[in-house]
Symmetry: none
């Protein structure tokens, strides 16, 4: 079942039965190397998470490491959900966006868009991103992009991406300190807060918008803000993610306000998971309501309540929550008649 | 299971696994305001039925009224079946044809073709349709229409449409007085017969074919006769309905005879429900056998025999029977491997 966060069901219903291109935006930020800031991956190898996620979604195999990324608590990556749905009701195309990966995925035949973007540094020091350049690359990609399917699902895998998203939205002046999600159930507020505080301290009083983004943000957030503006409403797009994708929209919002521009958002939407929607440590709805434009946003009410697998139960307990487009994939599955039970069975089959 | 009414299974089997565009033709006729003539809706609000049906098929919500249309006996609209199948195996596209609605559906993102056609009046007085104009609009739409899927399912929602269909076929000289279906189990023959008798009395001796249609028919019947001729066999089409769709074919037949034209009907078919096929008060097979051209026609043997829901049992007792493309939708479901049980479960979930 698909539920509304904001807007109405019509946008989503108009996609029922249609095929999507699945675009997976991948990036590394040095922020993820801060010990304890993220749960998205194996300690010491967290930088591999987007690489492994993309390998697994495309092929069902992890190649750049022996095992699929798990958190120390044993929460498996949401890429399992995304892959399960690809097996049950395939995306029309999968395309990867390399927005600064430390390790390239080992894949043949899959389209990997290479934009010559380097991994960003830790926001605690200064992310060191040429934000204008990254933004313009996103803009150009959106202008040129031709979708081979009925619509786009835009997903991301960026370890510690909720921390950079929170820092970014705060730096842009949104009153949202407590609204951002985390891969943890018990959010490590101290590490996160100190990191974000340090990030905000790096901003100079004469920094313009893109200078600020370059210090406190990550490539995925900046590029996708450009991508959305570049698409200019020409094709329907689902931002498949939680508070990180909400932050992309907040950046778009600030750019439009700063530059005095307008955007038609009738083809723009966001889809996330129930775990994000119901998270008491964040508030995706409140983030979306900060936007000056209208948007339709949804969540899938999928959960692992009927699964007996302990690793999957952790999702229902609030660990992991979202990523690798899981929420958008779950909505895509619903829109194509795929049952909750078949998804659970498929995900369980990966875990053995 | 799909069963033959006339023709053979080959046409239908050639559609197995293919995607259909679902076109829903909507119209109001003042005939529906005659007390007791139809069961298709809420008394006093029967004119809302096509509006509510289209809202529910597209979104799962009824917007122009609090509750989904039910007959006084509590028979829920066949739109529930059509919607259930859209959830289990979506139509590739849903498009609405506004052929004279009193209230426009409240929908965003869905294609609503507006032909500038007004609701028709009661046939008891004179329907007052400019039939040539409505026919030519259908013809032009068929000529221009480009199907985005493999074939078309053409459905209708027109309260009291079986009465106007019966009047139309009789007015065109077909010996079919007892062959037309009704939404009732116990057909209110007196009201219906008196209405049709009055309609036939309005015909003047020098009325040509379109003058006659303009007095005794409805917009859906006339437009779709034009639509079929306009398509000119260029794409496969399933007329999803019972005796009303048979009447559309009878109109096509008469037009061809009157004008000395021919039609290739190899891509034309009709699909209806078991409830229509087995109805002892009407005879769809006899109607189809009056055609001078060949056609393939089918019914789905779906019923609610394994359901425990009393409102659904009424279908098996002969109430409601067909509408909103239920028969075509059920055949589409069969052609795509959807089980009877999953359809029943889905329909029951709507009723709570």
């Amino acid at each position: 079942m698909i539920k509304n966060i904001v807007g109405n069901v019509d946008f989503c219903e108009s996609l029922r039965g249609k095929k999507a291109s699945f675009l997976l935006a991948l990036s590394n930020t040095g922020t993820a190397n801060i010990r304890g800031i993220t749960q998205a991956g194996i300690p010491g190898k967290i930088h591999l998470t987007p690489t492994l996620d993309s390998e697994f979604v495309c092929t069902g195999e992890v190649r750049s490491l022996e095992n699929i990324a798990e958190t120390p608590k044993g929460v498996p990556t949401p890429a399992l959900i995304t892959r399960a749905i690809h097996l049950l009701n395939p995306y029309g195309n999968i395309e990867l966006l390399d927005l600064g990966l430390e390790v390239k995925p080992e894949l043949e035949y899959f389209k990997i868009h290479d934009f010559g973007i380097l991994p960003s540094k830790s926001i605690a020091l200064d992310a060191g991103i040429n934000a204008m350049e990254v933004f313009q690359k996103g803009l150009a990609f959106g202008q040129e992009y031709e979708c081979k399917d009925d619509y786009i699902i835009l997903a991301e895998s960026v370890p510690s991406g909720t921390s950079t998203a929170s820092a970014t939205a705060q730096a842009l002046g949104y009153d949202c300190k407590s609204l951002f999600s985390s891969s943890f159930k018990e959010v490590p507020h101290n590490i996160r807060e100190i990191t974000i505080e340090n990030a905000l301290k790096n901003i100079k009083s004469d920094d313009d918008l893109f200078r600020i983004l370059g210090r406190v943000s990550d490539n995925m957030l900046i590029f996708n803000a450009g991508f959305i503006l570049g698409l200019n409403n020409k094709i329907k797009i689902v931002l498949a993610g939680g508070t990180q994708m909400a932050c992309v929209l907040l950046i778009v919002n600030t750019i439009l306000k700063t530059m005095g521009g307008e955007i038609n958002t009738s083809n723009l939407s966001l889809c996330t998971t129930k775990w994000v929607y119901e998270d008491t440590n964040s508030d995706i709805k409140a983030l979306l309501e900060m936007l000056d434009f209208k948007i339709n946003a949804y969540y899938s009410d999928f959960d692992f309540s009927t699964s007996n697998h302990p690793a999957l139960k952790l999702y229902d307990q609030g660990e992991a929550k979202e990523g690798v487009g899981a929420g958008g994939a779950l909505v895509y599955a619903s829109l194509n008649g795929i049952s909750k039970e078949s998804i659970i069975n498929q995900v369980e089959s990966f875990l053995g």
